[in-house]
């Protein structure tokens, strides 16, 4: 009894600490950037007051604020996706991209960026009144959805999770192969555009798109919360979960669908951002020394947001005029942290 209350207190304490860190980094991310803006003006703008320099106001409200919010949403979504995949497959190497969702999104984007070079397709797509950034988002969502349907269809037929994992990896490989054939027959400019997309970008999400991204990610987060108990049961093994009265098949469908929504949306809006989905669940488990998903789900969301904010601050190289690709920073900064924590805590094995 005592242990449980103690655990609850620890949980509340660490969640508060993480929430506080998240807010701090969020403000820091808005305050720092290529253009040096005085702190007082940043605060005034955030409080809704007018400042003399309308350019700075635009930079804060239209560039930095949406980017920082996107960073939190993307970090949380990818981390929760990774957590679910690791638990479902009971495999520490699984991540949100493991089922080919990201590859599917890439296929959709490749279809637009590489094939659109042939004039007819571009014009026919423009006829529909969709263009620019929304076109990329819709294409990648459709690509992700296509692969998701395929995976879900297969998951109804297959009982074994390990087989499911291998099938997912294979579907991802097939999708990547199609993209690479497409690349081979494309012009250098088109390939360059596609490669730039694969670097990932948090700054491309504008205020109007942010609303759509937020709704999708929050839906996914809420669904994950509801799945917490299911995930806990699955951790004990499928047979045990079944004996507890869990419908394993439907649980699996629910988990795959939720992960796909989370990963698909983020990939659509920000490009394929790697690493976060694999690393954050490990960080969270080590940090709290628990594998209870009722604790892990909120922790993962917070840690994911924190990690993405840190990476975004670094990728903006405050004080300089240049930027670094976010996708490289996540792995470059994140990997040493994960190695350090896992080696230090040595409690990874207990989680699986």
């Amino acid at each position: 009894m005592n242990a449980i209350t103690q655990g609850k207190r620890l949980r509340a304490k660490s969640l508060t600490l993480l929430g506080f860190t998240l807010i701090l980094l969020f403000l820091l991310d808005i305050g720092l950037g290529s253009v040096r803006i005085p702190v007082s003006d940043v605060i005034k703008t955030l409080l809704g007051q007018q400042i003399d320099n309308s350019g700075w106001q635009g930079i804060i409200l239209k560039i930095r604020l949406p980017r920082a919010v996107t960073a939190i949403l993307a970090g949380a979504a990818l981390s929760l996706g990774g957590l679910q995949m690791q638990t479902l497959f009971r495999n520490p190497l699984a991540g949100p991209s493991v089922l080919g969702i990201t590859a599917g999104a890439s296929l959709g984007v490749a279809a637009v960026m590489l094939a659109a070079g042939t004039v007819t397709t571009t014009f026919s797509i423009r006829e529909l009144g969709v263009d620019g950034s929304w076109l990329i988002i819709i294409a990648s969502t459709l690509g992700a959805a296509l692969v998701l349907m395929l995976i879900l269809g297969i998951s109804f037929k297959i009982r074994d999770n390990v087989v499911m994992l291998i099938v997912g990896l294979m579907v991802a490989n097939i999708t990547i192969a199609v993209v690479s054939i497409w690349q081979f027959f494309s012009d250098p400019e088109q390939i360059q555009e596609y490669i730039l997309w694969t670097f990932g970008s948090l700054g491309g999400v504008t205020n109007e798109q942010l609303g759509a991204l937020a709704i999708i990610v929050l839906t996914g987060v809420i669904l994950t919360f509801f799945l917490s108990k299911t995930l806990n049961a699955l951790l004990l093994g499928e047979d045990y979960a079944q004996s507890m009265g869990l419908n394993v098949k439907w649980a699996r469908v629910g988990i795959i669908a939720t992960t796909s929504i989370l990963a698909g949306a983020v990939t659509g809006f920000c490009g394929p951002i790697g690493f976060v989905g694999i690393a954050v669940p490990h960080l969270s488990r080590s940090f709290l020394n628990t594998s209870d998903h009722r604790t892990l789900v909120p922790t993962c969301a917070l840690v994911g947001g924190i990690l993405m904010l840190v990476c975004d601050i670094i990728s903006q190289v405050p004080g300089s005029q240049t930027v670094l690709p976010i996708n490289a920073i996540t792995a470059l900064i994140g990997s040493p942290i994960v190695i350090w924590i896992i080696v230090k805590r040595k409690n990874l094995k207990a989680s699986f």
Binding site: G55, K62, D131, S133, E208
Partner: protein
């Protein structure tokens, strides 16, 4: 002991055979250099009375000798600037002895061009008859060249994006005019060189100004022995260009602020302060936030760094592939905050692009630097050229 003898005998046979082979080769070589093969050759005669001088281009130079010219191509785009040279020897005369350089017999009669930037040059020098192969019809703007491809006079040598070496060998051309980028198509180019098809790498894109890029027409003229014609044509271009420059120097007082490029992902690529693209704007007197930068290519900046100056810039030139205001808006609604967006001050180089992705700016525009300059002047200082209509540039609507 016996074994060694046997081996020695064997060796001896091999050496003898080698000697014979070598003797045969050297015999062939000395034959080809025999002066009696060229009965009409007069070593004292200047075979090229008309000469060109290269005044603007940094990428190549020509030296004249009695019956041959030496062409030097300077590759500034490699880490170490190195030089590639060719001997252009007058047909019917012997190549000079003792110079170990690839030889091209001039005037050339069959050429393959791998860049649309050469096509207008062929047309300017009345040499479309010598053009036998192009990269891809899709990118060509010139109706003449397109119809030549359709009639089979000109062959596409890169129909699928990679150079078809076998087609070129079969065509038996005198020279391939390639494009010199760092590591571009090196494999296929080397293959062609090994088969004695000289590949002259044109690198007009590394030039620093409009006239430098246009002057590459002289390279083609040197290959065609059309020095007289090119001197006439190019001096007209030079004079026209100078008259626009004079007009600018005389009339322009204030320089409007302009930005370039467009954001891709999180980064915004703008033209560097020493780049060709900025030079075009600079000669037409435009103010530029990155004019003190030292890069000859483009520089990557963060979105907000460009956004800050973009808000108040009068003009926005060459926003990537965007060709309409709707394009700009859909890429990112934040562009709508820009002064240039509100005042319709956004221009791109799609005045004459084709549906297939070709653009005459990179074709005829190369040999019409005075028109390009007039376009830019018309954008920044419309009062200077009231009657000029934009040709290569277009206002985004």
């Amino acid at each position: 002991m016996k074994k060694t003898e046997k081996r020695n005998a064997h060796r001896w046979a091999v050496y003898t055979l080698l000697c014979f082979l070598m003797a045969g080769f050297s015999a062939c070589q000395s034959n080809s250099k025999n002066q009696s093969d060229f009965p009409d050759f007069d070593p004292q005669k200047d075979y090229f009375p008309e000469k060109v001088s290269i005044d603007h281009s940094i990428g190549f130079d020509v030296e004249y000798h009695n019956n041959y010219k030496t062409l030097h191509l300077f590759r500034h785009y490699n880490e170490v600037a190195d030089t590639v040279s060719f001997l252009l020897v007058q047909k019917g005369t012997p190549a000079p002895e003792g110079i170990d350089l690839p030889v091209i017999a001039v005037p050339i009669e069959k050429a393959v061009s791998l860049s649309t930037t050469h096509l207008a040059m062929f047309e300017l020098l009345n040499a479309l008859g010598e053009l036998k192969g192009i990269e891809r019809r899709q990118y060509v703007s010139s109706p003449k060249v397109v119809s030549m491809v359709d009639s089979g006079e000109v062959i596409e040598v890169e129909p699928a994006g990679t150079l078809n070496v076998e087609t070129i060998i079969e065509m038996d051309v005198d020279v391939v005019l390639g494009v010199g980028y760092p590591n571009s198509q090196n494999e296929s180019f080397q293959q062609l060189q090994r088969l004695n098809i000289p590949v002259v790498l044109n690198a007009d894109w590394q030039e620093v100004d409009l006239l430098g890029r246009a002057e590459w027409v002289k390279l083609l003229a040197v290959l065609l022995n059309k020095e007289k014609l090119v001197n006439e044509k190019f001096s007209t271009i030079e004079a026209e260009f100078q008259s626009v420059l004079d007009l600018i120097a005389e009339k322009v007082i204030d320089a409007p602020l302009t930005i370039t490029g467009i954001a891709q992902g999180d980064a915004w690529q703008v033209s560097g302060g020493k780049s060709f693209a900025y030079n075009v704007l600079k000669v037409a007197k435009a103010d530029y936030p990155w004019k003190d930068d030292n890069s000859t290519g483009s520089i990557k900046l963060s979105f907000e760094a460009v956004y800050e100056v973009g808000l108040n810039a009068d003009f926005w030139i060459a926003p990537g592939s965007a060709s309409s205001l709707q394009n700009i808006r859909e890429r990112d609604p934040r562009y709508m905050d820009f002064k240039s967006y509100k005042n319709r001050g956004i221009y791109n180089v799609f005045g004459r692009n084709t549906e297939g992705g070709g653009n005459d700016y990179y074709e005829t525009g190369v040999i019409e630097p005075h028109i390009v300059l007039k376009d830019v002047v018309k954008i920044f200082h419309p009062e200077l050229l009231p009657d000029h209509q934009l040709v290569y540039y277009n206002q985004l609507k």
